[in-house]
Symmetry: D2
Subunit: 302 residues, 4 copies
């Protein structure tokens, strides 16, 4: 199981059936440096345009339609001392008439301390003088080529993954995507140093990272992304409104609990009814993201 | 500041401008025993009919329209060894075509161990043999008389509170409701021994409690409920879809951060954008509930 | 079957189980003059405050929970030469970021020509110099006491009717409401001289009317309002988002087609799939309104 | 201005930046025969697979990003005596718990009388013995390549058009799409002989047509599709929930009324508030479709 250092020569604003930039074997590890969401690299040079330019696609040998691609996020190392955010919450996350009261959205710059693994606003903001955030790196946008030969903007998401902007998708987390094209065709980019629930300013702290992922093929059919952290398993739905994203995530969790944990719909209902957690990924992108999460403490894999 | 032991002689399926059952002074404490959501008391006798019969209303001296009623949840002691849930997730939380695959919903009984403070299904369910849940008591439905002399079903919720079914509304939490009628007219009931996010089976573990609350008047205008735990502050929006509930909660948080924490909309956006947490209260009732939560670690009250 | 001229001595901002202002027999006719949405009468005197003060409640002898109240709108005669609207579309009907570009909403006055049965803006607006609208009177808000003794704001709507703001609810139309309280307790008010789909400026042309309705009891259970015009039958759902309002209306239509027209779900699907019309009532109030409408040309009542 | 008879050699399940199958000049007319939604031709032979195989793309000389492609639907002639529908309403258009009561969805066959221009079910259905529908042909899915080089499934829709399933998109109607790629890259297919609002059974009467369209380039920027019939102008929004589709359509109409009809936001609000009509395109596909329609009787183009 080899390790590949992947340096893209081109970046993509869609996730789709494009010619592979790298071929790897099932189980190989890839180390690659991502641009920020606006296409700037670690040296501050613009290498691509937004939205969310992707590294990839990576063709994983053996991946066939109907399989799952397992993506283990082994590491995320920030590679730049600066990041940026939008300075104001999006119009769609406040009461409609309140949009009139929002200031215009600008770009705000952040300093990233890669020693201390923390971030702070580059220019002081009244009331936030001591606002220093520990880094909690995550991948904003990643996934595999969608079905039917589609190529879908990295501004949005779907069953194939994409721009989910979900806080738990960082180092130590494993995620599975449903494979719809030979080789899976994996893309990633748009990493965040920190991000709250909902990505409600339209960004996390956008910066560049060196990301290490291990990609493996599992001969197992899933419909929506599934994931696992040290503590939890989760499923992801991407849609609007949030209600529909929640439906997708819950249906996928019911399927998973049935197939892997031997829980029929009644048993799964008893479990979820009393212990489920729902996490809001993003409520900014065209498709919103909701995760359905269950502590592994309650589960015994069969 | 007196303590009142309040034993209702009638229960209500609406929250509204009904004749007070108890008058108390600002800052008094009330201890009262609630029925379960179906109207049964701690002895298993039906005292009222559902949905969610309420104790109240309690008239708090000095509360006027435009004030806030502060409710400190001082204690919740379970008073019965049994509880019940619905046995299957609600149709609205799964993909529509999946509703065809759900079994019919029945009532499931639970045993509550008041010594160990835990709950388990009364009848074994395959795969959940060792599913023993620590009690995490919470008030499912409480609030104050809504505006305009309205009386609104305890099945739903609004600015006035109501059937929010939000997991954090338990002992140690303080919540503020916007007062719309003289005396505020506080109601409570529908307590749960345990409940997951979303109340997706349509119930928590429904049982009876002795609840202790302290009620105080604050001369401060709010629009949606606000709350505080040991660690966090939060605001609550009640509406459908979840997107709109989230808008209400976020707008209320922006108002709160401005008035009490000196954060203008840009500062508040920087804060929320990177650290906000959204919690799903219920996605079962006619109005859904979303909480917007911020760790007090980031805040300095002015 | 008597005719009653009903002159209220009080008006209500809720629809609910209030003491009846008039008792009538099943099948009686009522003539009553309504205030405008802001509470002004035909002489321009404020008699009540908003929102949407109601005439009523009218107790209809023989109406019991589980029945339907049939309301035939026999006539609507405008009684004032002036009306008003809000001058700008509501924030929730445009893309969220576009709300920033909307001018502030003011009150605009209209002249009503009761001879010609037309309306025009009182002050000229560039581009609308020749904008003269034929009157298309309708009742914005009417219905019966909701279940559980509730009293619900006339700003919103539900199964009981309420502030539906649906364009077809004018003279010649019959509507049925589900009865939840003895006597049904019928309320009406908030009449519009003209209104587009969605009531997207938050008003129709708000003015005063003399309204004539015949009220009859039918021993038939319905869940959501049903209606009939010369050409069509329709059902109404009130909820947010519009998707849910549409679900309620469609489910009610399927029930109606089964019970009265002998169409099982497959036959009804063939019919609706190819000929159904959906009309947007309001997209301004807390609950939105969608009507599901079918031409009587396709139907043969059994 | 030439007329091209276009016979595809391949069909596409995406709308996107694919190699053109035909090049035409600005203003040329194209006559082409479409497959049905499942990929069968007029002879009943399967030529492609679903969903909604498209004829195209057609490259229109002179079309550049930022232009509009004007599509005049000059004619639609049915080319087969049979069509099909799904036999039951979709789960998402009824109340969630009602989905349990829906029969399984099957394919129903229809006879098309191309002389009489009518359609009827091939097998009798109780209660619908005399259900003979006049043909009202329309194009279910058409549009131009979306931005960023995307290729999007013909099951859904967006700013670029796509699977809108809107009843008014038939002969005599003109529609404009926003051009995002050189040559516009126009696709069409999925024609319906008849369809109700919402396409709530998931299909219209799906059959094959010979379609005649004239394609012209306008040097004018639009964001969402716009259209015109003999009587009305309309704009289209595609999104979920319907509320958001309605927002897009309304915002686009406000832009159109400003640029072409000299109506500022206040004047446009007065107009739309009292005369707008909203039509439901589809409520079945991943993105729903809402049209915002205004009678030309009220408008004077500048």
């Amino acid at each position: 199981m080899a390790t590949h250092r992947f340096t893209p020569t081109a970046y993509h604003n869609v996730i789709g059936s494009l010619p592979p930039a790298l071929h790897i074997a099932d189980g190989d590890t890839v180390i690659t440096e991502t641009l920020d969401a606006a296409g700037y690299d670690k040296g501050g040079i613009q290498r691509a345009s937004g939205p969310n330019p992707m590294n990839g696609p990576i063709f994983v040998e053996g991946a066939e339609r109907g399989d799952s691609l397992k993506v283990e996020i082994l590491g995320m190392v920030p590679t730049r001392d600066t990041g940026f955010t939008r300075s104001v919450v999006a119009g769609n996350v406040v009461e409609p008439e309140d949009v009139r009261t929002l200031p215009p959205g600008n770009r705000a710059n952040w300093q990233i301390d890669r020693q201390a693994l923390s971030a702070r606003l580059a220019e002081p903001v009244a009331g936030l003088e001591s606002f220093v955030l520990p880094l909690t790196p995550m991948i904003g946008c990643f996934g595999v080529a969608p079905s039917l030969g589609q190529a879908i903007s990295t501004a949005t998401s779907g069953e194939f993954g994409g721009n989910m902007d979900y806080r738990l998708l960082g180092p130590g987390t494993t995620i599975w995507f449903p494979v719809s094209a030979p080789g899976a065709l994996f893309f990633l980019g748009d990493c965040h140093a920190v991000q709250g629930d909902g990505e409600i300013v339209g960004t996390g702290i956008e910066t560049t990272f060196e990301v290490t992922v291990r990609l493996s093929v599992e001969k197992k059919k899933i419909i929506w992304p599934r994931g696992e952290t040290a503590d939890d398993i989760f499923t992801i739905g991407n849609a609007r409104p949030l209600d529909q994203a929640l439906q997708h995530a819950t249906s996928e969790m019911l399927r998973w609990l049935a197939s892997d944990y031997g829980l029929d719909k009644t048993a799964a209902s008893h479990l979820l009814g009393q212990v489920v957690r729902y996490d809001v990924g993003n409520v900014f992108d065209p498709a919103y993201t909701m995760a359905c999460r269950v502590s592994k403490a309650w589960l015994q894999r069969r």
